[in-house]
């Protein structure tokens, strides 16, 4: 085999491979139906957050099925992309959804960092982005003017804990020790709680920050101050499962309260009796005793085998909101700005209760203070752990009672803000 013939063969093989690549990569001209509504959905489908992603998709899809895939007359094309809980991948997949699938909007993301990565994409591509889960405060606060095509349907981190701080004062707690995951979501949750708790006379006397992902709290629990009246915790994922157990095993007798994710229904079924009596605050509880929620929980559980968490409810309600806008426009896509404006003007009765939007496009909704109890609910025959609602704060916005301008003047809640004046 002479060099020349070999070279030609090599080039030929490469050329054939290239032609194949070319054919594969040139996007097929599949005609997008003119009046169909294309919704892109970004969620982690593989990796450590895969179950969260599944719950999110399930929530949205349940609503789609109830409306037979039709929002206000427009057939819905629902495209789910795996963003693997990696912000750069979410941006990549968002670009694919926008440029290749020509979606009208993209929904989802889980982590705050994903929210921050996707928000600029919506501005750059002039496409609607609906963060149904990312709760980073500034997305709809100090950075909201950068993201005119963003409307949030979930919550902001500090939103539920503002009223919760007041509730803590009402319980007579004077000094509280805080132990929370050491990252932005933890800071914003603790910051919101601290601000309102100290504004009504309480004192945060300690802040402990175990790194995100800590599962052995051995180093931290013994350092909790003995003179605290109560312990406030913010835990996520596996942390929320292990912390209460280890706290109980260490002989804790103080009341434990926490941020919404510490006891939400994603982890609750796997917890034991050690969490009975723990109180938290969130815009949703699966034990919300309303006919609408009862129907939602029963249908979801029958279909997917588990009690829905706020991951599912948030996306179910997002689907409902999109549907309501499309109903108003008679099934025609009104354009991104008009869509955002239309959704922002909605007032709906969702599974979690009444939902409307404030001027920075964050939901205004009920916040439920909920306590973990073991009982039977909704006709199920087993005693299970449920987050019983013990108090409702209606129509809570992201600024609580502080007023938008005053609130935005202060810096975003961080590890050092509000400062721990009473920490020794």
């Amino acid at each position: 085999m002479s060099n020349g013939a070999g070279t030609m063969k090599t080039l030929g093989v490469i050329g054939a491979a290239a032609a194949a690549c070319f054919a594969l990569t040139t996007p097929g001209a599949s005609p997008a139906a003119a009046d169909e509504l294309r919704i892109g959905f970004l969620a982690p489908m593989t990796g450590p957050f895969a179950q969260v992603g599944k719950d999110m998709v399930n929530g949205f899809e349940m609503y789609l099925e109830e409306t037979k895939n039709n929002f206000g007359g427009a057939p819905v094309k629902f495209i789910v992309e795996d963003e693997q809980a990696k912000p750069p991948v979410s941006v990549l997949k968002a670009e694919k959804l926008i440029r290749q699938d020509k979606v009208h909007m993209f929904v989802g993301g889980v982590l705050a960092s994903t929210g921050y990565a996707l928000a600029p994409v919506s501005t750059r591509e002039k496409t609607v982005y609906i963060p149904s889960i990312p709760a980073a405060d500034d997305l709809t606060q100090r950075d909201s003017s950068k993201y005119p095509y963003l409307i949030r349907t979930g919550w902001s981190s500090s939103q539920p804990v503002h009223p919760f701080g007041q509730w803590a004062c009402e319980q007579g707690y004077k000094k509280i020790a805080v132990i929370a995951a050491d990252y932005a979501f933890g800071y914003e949750t603790v910051g919101g709680f601290q601000k309102s708790f100290e504004d009504c006379g309480g004192k945060i006397i300690q802040k402990i920050w175990p790194p995100l992902g800590t599962i052995d709290f051995g180093p931290f629990i013994p350092t909790i101050k003995q003179d605290a009246d109560a312990i406030f915790t913010l835990m996520v994922g596996p942390m929320s499962l292990q912390f209460p157990k280890q706290l109980a095993a260490a002989g804790n007798t103080k009341p434990v309260i926490g941020g919404g994710t510490s006891y939400d229904e994603f982890s609750l079924p796997f917890m034991g009796d050690e969490v009975i009596g723990h109180v938290s605050a969130l815009q949703y509880s699966a034990a919300l005793d309303t006919p609408k929620n009862a129907a939602f929980v029963k249908a979801y559980r029958a279909k997917y085998g588990k009690v829905p968490s706020y991951f599912s409810e948030s996306n179910y309600t997002t689907a409902q909101l999109i549907d309501d806008v499309m109903k108003k426009t008679g099934g025609t896509w009104p354009g991104p700005e008009q869509f955002v404006a239309a959704m922002a003007s909605l007032k709906i009765d969702a599974v979690r209760g009444p939902v409307s939007f404030d001027e920075l496009r964050n939901p205004v909704q009920n916040i439920y203070v909920k306590k973990v109890e073991k009982k039977k609910m909704f006709g199920y025959d087993k005693d299970e752990l449920w987050n019983t609602v013990i108090k409702t704060y209606p129509a809570v916005g992201q600024f609580w009672t502080y007023g938008k301008d005053a609130f935005l003047k202060q810096p975003v809640y961080s590890r050092d803000f509000p400062p721990c004046k009473y920490c020794e």
């Binding site: 969260v52 051995g218 350092t223 292990q242 002989g251």
Partner: protein, 286 residues
């Protein structure tokens, strides 16, 4: 920071170290005998936890889950060693990478089989209590972990020092060529050690499951820590694994309690420095 604090932190560090010993001893043995760095070790740990959960769900017995998970994963390790690692011969890099490839496959498989929820193993009620000793609340489960690790450690040591099989293993660790030259069936030893190492990891996963949880991502989260144990203690040495586990358990615990901001750094930086001075670890050979 009174005496209570120090005592409690030491106790916690010891119990964490006990778990790490289970995890690290297998890794160290596998390396000692076969010079393979098993990057699927974290996956074995996690799979042990998952198998235990399945056993508990179907039979209700936690006690049964321990040997069942260990055996199941030992089998997986055996298959992997025989069918996939053996053909590669002595090629450490490719063997390492093969174990990684499998780690990814196991991760996805576990997700598909057990789902992605954050789960937790519930041990029998007697173990979930705490005893109060001199004003300190000591969870019985942590005492159990220390006890179990000690028992297994002693058993392994006795097997290595006092049995013929153990002598054969030690010979293979010291010099595989010589060992096979004097008639030791090194390939059978390799197979046995790989299975044992996997079983130990799985056992760690079952024990750890009640303490750390069982969830996707735990495999790659625990892997660098297992390596810290083995690197500090020295590859191939059982004593090294014990000492390394103790050091890592205590250092991690105290590091987090006293300097939480730089907690990961306090683990890996000393490790790197130790390696700079003694690349084979405290008790390693070569």
């Amino acid at each position: 920071m009174d005496a209570r604090f120090w005592l409690l932190q030491t106790f916690n560090g010891l119990s964490y170290g006990a778990l790490l010993f289970l995890l690290g001893s297998g890794l160290s043995l596998i390396f000692g005998v076969m010079r393979i760095v098993n990057l699927a070790h974290g996956a074995y740990f996690l799979l042990g936890g998952y198998v235990a959960l399945s056993v508990i769900w179907s039979t209700g017995s936690w006690a049964l889950a321990l040997p069942a998970a260990a055996l199941a994963i030992a089998l997986v390790g055996l298959v992997m060693e025989r069918i996939f690692l053996r053909p590669l011969g002595f090629d450490p890099l490719r063997q390492v990478l093969l174990t990684v490839g499998f780690a990814f496959l196991f991760q996805q498989g576990a997700l598909d089989i057990w789902g992605g929820d954050n789960m937790d193993i519930t041990p029998p009620a007697e173990l979930t209590r705490s005893i109060v000793l001199a004003g300190l609340h000591l969870p019985v489960y942590r005492i159990f972990m220390i006890g179990l690790a000690a028992v297994i450690g002693v058993a392994l040591w006795l097997a290595m020092e006092k049995t013929r099989m153990g002598a054969a293993v030690r010979a293979t660790v010291d010099d595989a060529e010589m060992a096979s030259g004097i008639g030791i069936d090194t390939s059978r030893i390799s197979m046995f050690i790989f299975a044992l190492g996997s079983a130990l990891a799985a056992l760690g996963g079952v024990i750890g499951g009640a303490f750390l949880g069982v969830y996707p991502g735990l495999d790659f989260q625990i892997l660098p820590i297992a390596f810290a144990v083995v690197i500090i203690g020295g590859m191939g040495s059982l004593t090294g694994a014990a000492v390394g586990a103790l050091i890592v358990g205590l250092a991690d615990n105290f590091g987090k309690a006293l300097f939480p901001e730089v907690s990961y750094f306090t683990l890996y930086a000393p490790m790197a420095l130790l390696l700079a001075v003694k690349p084979t670890g405290l008790f390693g050979r070569e």
